[in-house]
Every structure is written in C-alpha cells, then in structure tokens.
Amino acid sequence: MRKAAKLVSYLCVAALAVCGLGACNNDANNDKDDDTKNPSTSTPGGDDTTGMSGEIYVISREESSGTRSAFTEILEIIDADGNDATVATAEVTNSTGVMLTTVAGNDKAIGYVSLGSLNDTVKALSVDGVEATADNIKNNTYPVSRPFVMAYKEAEASDLAKDFIAYVMSSQGQAIIAEESYIAADESAEEYTASGLSGSLSIEGSTSVGPVMEILAEAYMELNPDANITVTQDGSGTGITAAIDGGCDIAISSRALKEEEAAELTPVTIATDGIAVIVNTENSIDSLTSEQIKEIFLGNITEWDELN
C-alpha cells in the first residue's frame, strides 16, 4: 500500500516536471514570436540593410578545436606572431550542437560550423559574395574551405601505401569521407577490391584529418587483415616534416602543401572541408566579406551597425 502511494507520488512529480518544462518552452517560443513580429510590423516594406543593430555576439569554439584552428588560419584571425587572436570576450562553445543552438537562440550572434553540420535552424552567410554550398567549395570559389591532403614520397612509397591511397580514393573510401560530413574529392570513383597486401604503414599529421583517417584505416584493415596501419595525430606541419625525413610513410595535412614541401612529396587531395559562417535566421545580413568576418572575430568590429 505504502509502496503504491510512493509510486503514485513519483509519477505525479514526473508529470509536474514535464508540464513545467513544457510551459517554459512555450513561454520562450512565444516571446521569440513576439520579438519577430514587432520589427516586421514597424518597418513595413522592409528595407533589408537597415535591419541589424546592436552589439555583435561573437561565438567561437574551444581553443584546441580543429574547426577553430582552420577558421582562424583561413581568415587570418591571428596576431603578429601568427597565433590565434580570436577576441577574448567571444563566447566559447565546446560542440557543434551547442554552437547551433546558441546561434539559433540569439538574433545578434555570429558563429561558425563545419559545412557538413549546417542545418536550417541557422542562416549561413555568403562570404565575399559566394554562397556556402558544397558545389562552390568544389569549384574553389567559397573562400572558407581547406583541402584534406595525403602526401607521400613517390620514389619510396611501398605497394601498401599506394594501395591504401587507392582505397581512400575509391568509391568506398570516398563514401566514408562523405559520411563524416566532408566533401568527397571524387564522386565517380571506382570500386576498390582488396589486394591482400601485408606489412605496416605509418601515417602522421593533421588532427583534423586524423579522425576520418582512423576510420578509413580500420575499414581498410578489415578488407586486408594482414596490413597494419597506425595513425599518429600531431599536426599537419609535423606530419609533412616526418614524411620528408622518412619518419612516416604518408603525411596527412589539412592545408595544401607549400611549394618546398610539394617539391619533395606527392600530394593527393582526398576531400575538402568547408566552414560555414552562421547567424540567426532573423538576421537581415546575408553576406559579408572575409575581411569583415576577420575584423568581427578579432574584436575590431563590435556593432552590427558597422556592417550595414
């Protein structure tokens, strides 16, 4: 009897909690609706460029995130020493999900996510007039993108190394890359058939390419059980140097090779990663130049008015 009473009371509490949560969410939604209605009624005819004012809320990722380092590198959000100089007051989120929720809930926020994670709760800005789409990244017009490269010494490459690269560039390998929400380099690739090669292969370099490379290596080793591939993630530069010095068989890099590096190594672009600059869907701005984005994230532009 007492047990039953206890159970009933637990259920009551759970029901109350659910109701409470529901009410909260409704309130929040209603408030937002009100906010969105007001400006549209006050400016009938709606001139797009005069819409945004107020402080810009800059939202960044944590210091060691691959997306952040790519973003700051590509847009040169760096200080005189070449170090990341994202404005210190920027809000820091530690995941793509929280980034999207935060921007979706704040009409004055600006942030960035990997293009593969973009959804329609937020608006992706055009950069330098180019829309952030997979096609524009493939034809190299969207500026905030970077190639994922595997580089090796042509003369010294083992059969296994060549076979693994062939696998990465095959339809199976490219499918894995697309599944990890990067843009595959070759969509009409041919199918790979297991070679049954054995031996060991060491891959070293970028922490951004590393995770997808681990998955590729595992899938390859399943097809070729005698092969043993190790992936070390210690940064693009370290990996490329190691490949040149013979410290590893294949370097993985999240940037194109520099001229002197390309003289020593043969690069293969296996995928492209694009970063979308995102704002709230209520934001009237559709496009910014890369210079403007850079100044926003450096903290030199702090008001939306300055961008109109």
Binding site: K6, V13, K32, S64, E91, T101
Partner: protein, 287 residues
C-alpha cells in the same frame, strides 16, 4: 566448525580488499594528478600559471587566474541562490510539513539529486538562457545564469543534509522550548535550528563542493570566455569547464597545463572536504 571459521576469514579478507580498492583509487588519482601536473606547472612557472591573466594555449600563455575567479564567482552565486532556498525548504520539511505533502515533496527532492548534470545544462540552455536574454539582453549566458542553475543543482544536497541534522536534534530541545512558553515557530527557529548548526553548515559546504566541481551544466550556460568577468551577465569560464572544453584535442604542454588546472581544482576540493570533516568532528563532539 573449522570450515565456517575459514570461510569467515575469507570474507573478511574480501571486504578488506574492497575497502583497499577504493582507498587505492584515491591514492592513484592523487599520484597521477600531482605527478603530471606539477612538472608542467614548474615548467611554465607556478606564479605565471596561478596568477597569469591570459589563457591562450596556441600562443603558449597559460594563466588560470580568470578561471579561478570564475569558479569562485559562480560558486558564490550558487550559494546565494541555493542556500536560503535549501535551508527554508529543510526547515519546512523537518518542522512544518504535513505528512501527506511530505510524501510528495521528499521524493521530488530526491529526484532532483538524480537528474544528470547534462540534463540540467540543457534545461538551462533552453529555459533559463532565453529568459535571461529577455530580461538583460545580451547572450543570456554568464555568471548569473550559471549561478541560478547551480543553485538548483546544489539544493538536494543542502536540503537532505540539513533536514537530517534538524531531525537529529534531540526532541528534548524542542519540548523544553515549548515548555518555556515559546511557540512552535520560535522553537524551530531559535532552538532546533541553532542546535543543528554544524550539521547544516556541513550540508552547505558539501553543496559548495558540488557547485565548484560541476562541469557539464556550467559549460553549457556560462559562455566560457577566458576573461575576468566585469558584470553579473558577463561570460565566465570556470576551472572545470576549462578542462572539459579543451581536453578533447589538447596535446603536449597544453594537455599538461589542463591536468595542472585539475590539480588546482583538486586542491580546492581537498580544502572544502577538510573543512567538512573538521566541522563534522566538531559537531560530533558537541552532541
């Protein structure tokens, strides 16, 4: 007979072993933290690490003073929100609550303690943050939001420990007070409450420990900028969130500095636990 004795011995050993395992776990954690953290701290300079004002790992600057400040601010805020609410609730539960209501309230509070912190964080992000945005403008995250959320999170600890210590006060205190002509309210507040003082204080300290160690929920609502907060709605990063934000990809010295951040946090918790056990001992003597 002999068999029984040896069996008994065996189980004694087994239980002893279990006790040692948990003690060994604590010792291992201590050794790991200090062995990994201290060399890194020394490499970077203790003073520069503890009192450095800039945290920029890519530029090799590791100063955690903003995070220490952040942790203290957020914890203080949590106490301001959580302690009065928790104490009132405990007094109500122990002295004024009708039995029927108690059967509903007590499980509700116990349930509050069992909610995973990431769920609290999500609740904060979806419910508290928009409200704060409406009231104060801005991004709705920061010290105030984190403090309110943490205030909720430490409630169950404070309530259950305080209620237990209120109930542990001998009934004679209460009856004696009534016999002297005091009302029920006067007896509760002026006699029973002070008598349970050290136990209640211990509950508050446990709550502080929970607040300072909370990670996931704070990371979602604090904004996490590594700056000195300049207002109640300013973004803030605590010691715990500093670790969880960057541990995922950090390598080399950066990783070691995060472990060193953990050492600082660990020392904070040690101090809090020391306070707790000292109070408990004092409370034990008084009774």
């Amino acid at each position: 007979m002999l068999k029984l004795k040896s069996k008994e011995k065996l189980f004694k050993m087994l239980f002893c072993l279990c006790a040692f395992v948990s003690a060994a776990a604590v010792a291992l954690i201590c050794i790991f933290m200090f062995a990994n953290g201290f060399p890194a701290m020394a490499e970077n300079g203790f003073f520069k690490f503890l009192f450095g004002e800039e945290w920029r790992p890519t530029a090799g600057q590791f100063g955690i003073l903003p995070m220490i400040t952040g942790s203290i601010c957020v914890t203080a805020g949590a106490i301001i929100f959580g302690v009065p609410l928790g104490l009132m609730c405990a007094i109500f539960l122990a002295g004024f609550c009708p039995k029927k209501l108690y059967k509903v309230l007590k499980p509700a509070i116990d349930l509050l303690a069992g909610i995973p912190s990431v769920v609290y964080g999500y609740f904060g992000l979806m419910a508290i943050v928009p409200i704060m945005q409406d009231i104060f403008g801005g991004n709705g995250k920061g010290i105030l939001t984190a403090s309110i959320l943490l205030g909720f999170m430490i409630l169950p600890t404070i309530i259950s420990v305080s209620e237990a210590s209120l109930r542990a006060v001998p009934n004679a205190y209460y009856e004696g007070s009534l016999a002297l002509g005091a009302t029920h309210e006067q007896s509760m507040f002026k006699t029973v409450f002070p008598a349970a003082g050290s136990g209640i204080f211990a509950g508050v300290i446990l709550g502080i420990g929970r607040a300072i160690g909370e990670t996931m929920a704070v990371a979602m609502v604090a904004g996490n900028s590594a700056i000195f907060p300049d207002s109640l709605t300013s973004n803030v990063r605590t010691l715990t969130t500093n670790i969880i934000l960057e541990m995922g990809y950090a390598t080399g010295l950066h990783r070691q500095m995060l472990i060193a951040t953990g050492v600082v946090l660990f020392i904070f918790i040690l101090i809090i636990n020391l306070c707790f056990s000292m109070l408990k001992r004092k409370g034990g003597k008084a009774q």
